[in-house]
Symmetry: C2
Subunit: 242 residues, 2 copies
DNA sequence: CGAGGGTTTGAAGTGCATCAAATAGTGTGG
DNA sequence: CCACACTATTTGATGCACTTCAAACCCTCG
């Protein structure tokens, strides 16, 4: 594939992102021209916490874990993010330092774009600033929710809550959910050990009559599940405030 | 005090807030005119989670707890915020619904301002939008840190981390710290029970040789404290990224 | 078929929560 | 200035949830 074609692809992907809907073609063209596609192997680290930030990233394919890590290697997962999501852009507001690390958790294709370009555009395009502002507010709110869950919900309830979230994203009444990534990764996303995840899922199955077969979870009675999980949450199902 | 004088006071306070430094006098005057001062008793609830939002708030004096609460009354504290801080403004980005509850934890004086006015100004004043954006990014980052602490640090380490934060805000080498609010409230802010706080503080005292007398904590050896707490954190002392 | 990662299970330990009760601290009215 | 009432904090005893370490199992893919 020649450069011309590549850039067209990037331009298309960028142009479709929600976050850039208020940007004009000139900016998008320039951004696309200065962007690069990167192929990441599973496990490859893209950002190291507190690194100087020069670029931000868009996931074209795959899965990226955002996390913070202590010297001895213990990790706290902040988010696991997928196709068409952007990350690394918040460093603009942190002295151009990345506030988290990022690692591909499966083979992924990433578009990397220069940060200064975005920064300038935010400063010059008020509409983009507003879009970024509400996107940031949404992120903040999600983290607040997560903090609440960690404080109030037990392991099984947190799993139930995640299942409900996934079920809701799909069709209205879908009862068959396939886990978006492997169980150990889900566990870390929910702030628990893989062993705990396994046992807590078993408990959840017993309590709410869900069916588990490998990577597929079948929920016959969504209200039973929501009752079990949402009793320990400030928001009622289906979580309006997201 | 007549209305004129009151408004002048409000105007002064608003005008000094960091967040409004990029706003012109006309806006600040209008905002002050449409604002009201409220006296809150300790324990009084100002915002109930998911209420329709009409106003945002500025603390002129006192202390306000922002939290989320389940039906059975269990709380998750999001933040405890003091003089010259603003809260309730994020509802602009959540369909005018407050994403948390707010309660005065001591007798407080609050300035309440109409949200639509702020919303319009954000939309029309790009510089304010940028200020709001970095303030929101900072909040998000703080919550990310908190989530990390809950995941990785134990109770004693979290207390130590808080002490370091307070020590750092004051003078460079201050060794005498007075707790900003009562211990049960600190405990809830750190996501633990009062009993746990008491025991964990005792343990911290033993491990790091700090002195505790009522509400005053004396730290002779800050590096010993930071070593104890920051070993379980992705940021090294003194936490640069704040 | 066998290697290797992902997942589950078991056994034991740790940290925090819970409930109950004692103690310290604070403000009030006499 | 003291005694009382009330709140904040500490202490003790016990239980539960989650972690840790070790080993078994399971699945997929060369």
């Amino acid at each position: 594939m020649d450069t011309q074609t590549k850039n067209t692809n990037i331009r298309d992907i960028i142009g479709r992102l929600d976050i850039f809907q208020e940007c004009n073609a000139t900016f998008l063209d320039t951004l696309a021209q200065q962007s690069k596609t990167q192929h990441l192997k599973k496990g490859q680290v893209l950002i190291v916490h507190e690194d100087k930030a020069k670029r931000f990233y868009i996931i074209s394919k795959g899965l990226v874990k955002l996390y913070r890590e202590t010297l001895n290697g213990t990790q706290a997962v902040i988010d696991i993010t997928a196709k068409n999501n952007i990350f690394g852009e918040t460093s603009i507001f942190h002295n151009n330092t990345h506030p988290y690390s990022a690692e591909a958790t499966e083979n992924s294709i990433i578009i990397s774009c220069p940060l200064p370009l975005l920064k300038t555009e935010i400063e010059n395009n008020p509409k983009l600033a507003i879009v970024m502002l509400s996107s940031m507010a949404k992120l903040k709110h999600e983290t607040d929710q997560e903090l609440e869950h960690r404080t109030i919900q037990n392991a099984s309830q947190r799993i139930g809550c995640l299942l409900l979230k996934i079920a809701n994203q799909n069709s209205k009444k879908s009862t068959s959910i396939s886990l978006p990534y492997d169980k150990a990764l889900i566990a870390s996303r929910l702030g628990m050990q893989p062993e705990t995840f396994s046992r807590a899922l078993k408990k959840l199955k017993k309590e709410t009559k869900i069916e588990i077969k490998g990577t597929t979870v079948t929920v016959d009675n969504i209200s039973q599940l929501s009752q079990y999980s949402c009793i320990a949450c400030s928001s009622e199902f289906p979580c309006k405030d997201l």
